[in-house]
């Protein structure tokens, strides 16, 4: 679904992203992890054509994102609060997004009904503008808005941050369902290793703009990742694993 070729992004001679090749097949739930400054948001911004690549390109369903705008019809995203329109109520925002994606009010209402659980009664019918909601509730609204209009590709930057535990668990269910049941390609980034390993079939680790790990999630992925980020060598990882097995 998403193809990345020879992609680099430089900011005044500082290379912040350098990906030779990366293919994400349709219906995959794809997780991106990495420390601050690893290039996660840069990659997502490039995917959404919000910044220009220095070299290379990204294709989304065979459409070059920097050359055509056709990818916008089947791609949706929530990167941060700047994707919300502060002076609208959540409902108005959902209807506005629905309008842009050719969904009428009742379509949007039907979709929102499915996420009543996720909203936990704090989003709809509050008579509040989005700018007056708490960070977590803003995030909930933004995430659900990105599901409007049956997108084929959903991009979520740090979806778990700022959410309360109940919502985190519900969000994990939603993301899994999107990829497994509905064939949606879901791209998420996260600092929370356990969430991302639980949700994603495949995890790519970025470090200083380069792909350093590309793994299919398995039972030991979390340990692998934890070891990687704590700076331990792989030897110790195997040690840990064997010790666990021996127990």
């Amino acid at each position: 679904m998403v193809q990345i070729e020879n992609l680099t992004k430089k900011y005044s001679s500082k290379l912040v992203l350098n990906i030779q090749e990366l293919n994400i097949p349709k219906g995959q739930s794809f997780g991106l992890v990495g420390n601050n400054g690893a290039g996660k948001t840069t990659l997502f911004s490039l995917l959404l054509d919000l910044i220009q690549p220095s070299t290379g390109h990204i294709s989304n369903n065979e459409v070059r994102v920097d050359q055509s705008e056709n990818w916008k019809t089947y791609t949706s995203s929530f990167i941060d609060e700047s994707f919300l329109i502060g002076y609208l109520t959540p409902e108005e925002y959902f209807y506005f997004i629905g309008e842009l994606r050719n969904r009428n009010k009742s379509d949007v209402d039907a979709l929102l009904a499915k996420y009543e659980d996720f909203f936990h009664g704090e989003i709809l019918g509050q008579k509040k503008y989005l700018r007056d909601l708490s960070k977590g509730n803003q995030k909930k609204a933004g995430i659900v808005a990105s599901f409007i209009g049956n997108p084929e590709v959903v991009i979520l930057d740090e979806p778990f941050a700022n959410l309360d535990p109940t919502t985190q668990i519900r969000l994990k269910g939603i993301i899994k369902d999107l990829a497994a049941q509905q064939g949606v390609t879901v791209l998420i980034s996260s600092h929370d290793l356990s969430h991302v390993t639980e949700v994603c079939e495949r995890i790519v680790v970025l470090n200083k703009g380069e792909v350093v790990k590309d793994i299919q999630t398995s039972a030991q992925t979390l340990r692998d990742l934890e070891a990687f980020f704590s700076g331990n060598t792989s030897v110790q990882v195997t040690d840990l694993n064997t010790s666990e097995e021996s127990i």
């Binding site: 919000l50 791609t75 994707f83 502060g86 002076y87 842009l100």
Partner: protein, 489 residues
């Protein structure tokens, strides 16, 4: 403690990002401030002599006293819109070992040296100097001046108490209206009554105790009020107004631009800065009175073309010059969404078209000054529609500065850059030059007709023109996204 606070204030001013604004704006703002101060001083000096001339039967000092009540009401009105209450700045101090009472006194004390309080001093001080020069007794004039200053301060603190409550604003507006009506229909002479009251202040300077007592009273009320509200969840918390939802079904008839039109209308109505601009635009319809009542201009002066363009295009300028920066807070969302940029721009243009038509309709009463006035305003409205709308949209593509909609409205130069000043040249300069040249080689009628025709032509060609502007916007997309992300610009 006060020294510390003042030091912090000083730093916050000099290190604020607004001070990092481009030099042009700084000079412009400085110029405006000096201009305002000088013109206030000049009118303070000139007021006595001017009033002496206009109302020879009653003394200028009495006249001033009679209109003081309107002045104070007006001041409260203006302050309501412009004065920022300095409450938000103290959040970090709440958890530090500082007495809440000294924080409160500091806030209240600082507002006493607000710019708005000095504004009236710039007028009244020179006026009093003239009074002394004219041989009014020193003690009495001094008492009167003190009284005025005390009343200005009272208004300052009343504005605090009003605290941006729309209801009180409407009440004040009604009172002013009622006063004027009573006066106009000769029922009760409000000005006479209050004039006498203020004159007493002059006659018996010891009465200055009353206004001073008033200041102390409102200060004390403010103190009581603020001191108990000095918690995060009370006044400091941003007030969350209950959201008014409306689906604006009537916009449906505009077809595909309807969602954007709805968004723009909500943008304007739900944000202070834009909302104030609507009111300013409506009030600016009176701007022409200044020029039309001056006898120096003939009925066909190029200055009146300037006035016509200005009056019918005020919203065009105020709103249009910051397109698309109004949407800067969520511009990256707009650009990653399935949005046809053309519909987006068309909706903005549509909104401006409506404003030009409304402003023209409001300007029709100028026909009182002769048919030429109506002809000029009509031609200017057409010119604005056809030529200036594309011009302002084109200049909008150069906007790269973010606008935080939550910030206050007046005197807010956020989002302004050199382009905003440059845009005035084609907006006003071109039609004026055109008018001057054509009425010189041809006639007034010809010049006006050409302007109107240009407007009609531009309006007829709006589709291809908008297509080209859309291309420019698409090309500048990345720069805009990056620029709008920078918060401190």
């Amino acid at each position: 403690m006060f020294k510390n606070f003042t030091g912090l204030q000083w730093k916050s001013f000099f290190r604020s990002s607004s001070l990092g604004k481009s030099l042009g704006i700084k000079i412009f703002m400085g110029f405006m401030a000096v201009y305002l101060a000088v013109s206030l001083i000049m009118s303070g000096i000139g007021a006595y002599f001017a009033l002496e001339k206009i109302f020879p039967e009653s003394g200028p000092f009495q006249i001033i006293n009679r209109f003081l009540i309107y002045y104070f009401c007006l001041e409260l009105f203006i302050r309501y819109f412009m004065q920022k209450l300095p409450v938000m700045d103290i959040k970090p101090f709440l958890i530090l070992p500082i007495k809440k009472s000294s924080i409160t006194h500091y806030i209240l004390g600082r507002s006493a040296v607000s710019f708005y309080n000095f504004l009236s001093l710039f007028f009244f001080l020179p006026f009093c100097v003239v009074l002394l020069y004219k041989g009014f007794p020193v003690l009495n004039v001094l008492g009167w001046l003190m009284g005025i200053i005390a009343l200005v301060l009272t208004i300052n603190y009343i504005n605090f108490l009003v605290n941006k409550s729309d209801r009180i604003l409407i009440a004040v507006a009604t009172i002013i209206g009622a006063f004027y009506a009573l006066e106009y229909f000769d029922i009760v002479s409000i000005t006479e009554y209050f004039g006498a009251l203020f004159y007493r202040l002059y006659e018996q300077p010891y009465l200055v105790i009353i206004p001073i007592g008033l200041v102390v009273l409102v200060y004390w009320l403010n103190y009581k009020f603020l001191r108990t509200k000095l918690f995060l969840d009370a006044t400091l918390e941003n007030k969350t107004k209950e959201a008014q939802t409306s689906d604006m079904a009537w916009t449906r008839r505009f077809g595909k631009i309807a969602p954007f039109l709805q968004l723009d209308l909500k943008l304007i109505w739900r944000n202070k800065r834009t909302k104030t601009q609507v009111f300013i635009s409506l009030a600016m319809i009176l701007y022409g009175l200044i020029f039309y009542t001056m006898k120096d201009f003939g009925p066909t002066s190029p200055m009146l073309v300037f006035v016509g363009i200005f009056m019918t295009g005020i919203f065009l300028m105020n709103f249009g010059q910051f397109i698309p920066a109004w949407d800067s807070e969520y511009y990256s969302m707009m650009m990653s969404q399935n949005i046809p940029l053309r519909d987006y721009l068309e909706s903005k243009a549509g909104l401006i078209y409506v404003s030009v038509v409304v402003m023209f309709l409001l300007s029709i009463p100028y026909v009182y000054f002769g048919w030429e006035a109506l002809a000029i305003n009509f031609a200017c409205a057409l010119y604005n529609l056809g030529v200036n709308v594309p011009v302002i949209l084109f200049f909008g593509s150069m906007n790269k500065k973010r606008i935080d909609l939550a910030k206050s409205a007046m005197g807010n130069m956020q989002g302004a850059s050199a382009a905003q000043f440059l845009v005035g040249i084609p907006l006003f300069g071109l039609p004026m030059i055109l008018f001057v040249v054509l009425s010189w080689v041809g006639s007034f009628q010809m010049a006006i007709s050409v302007m109107a025709l240009l407007g009609i032509l531009g309006f007829a060609l709006r589709k291809p023109i908008l297509d080209n502007i859309t291309k420019i916007y698409a090309k500048k997309k990345y720069g805009m996204i990056a620029g709008f992300k920078e918060k401190n610009s």
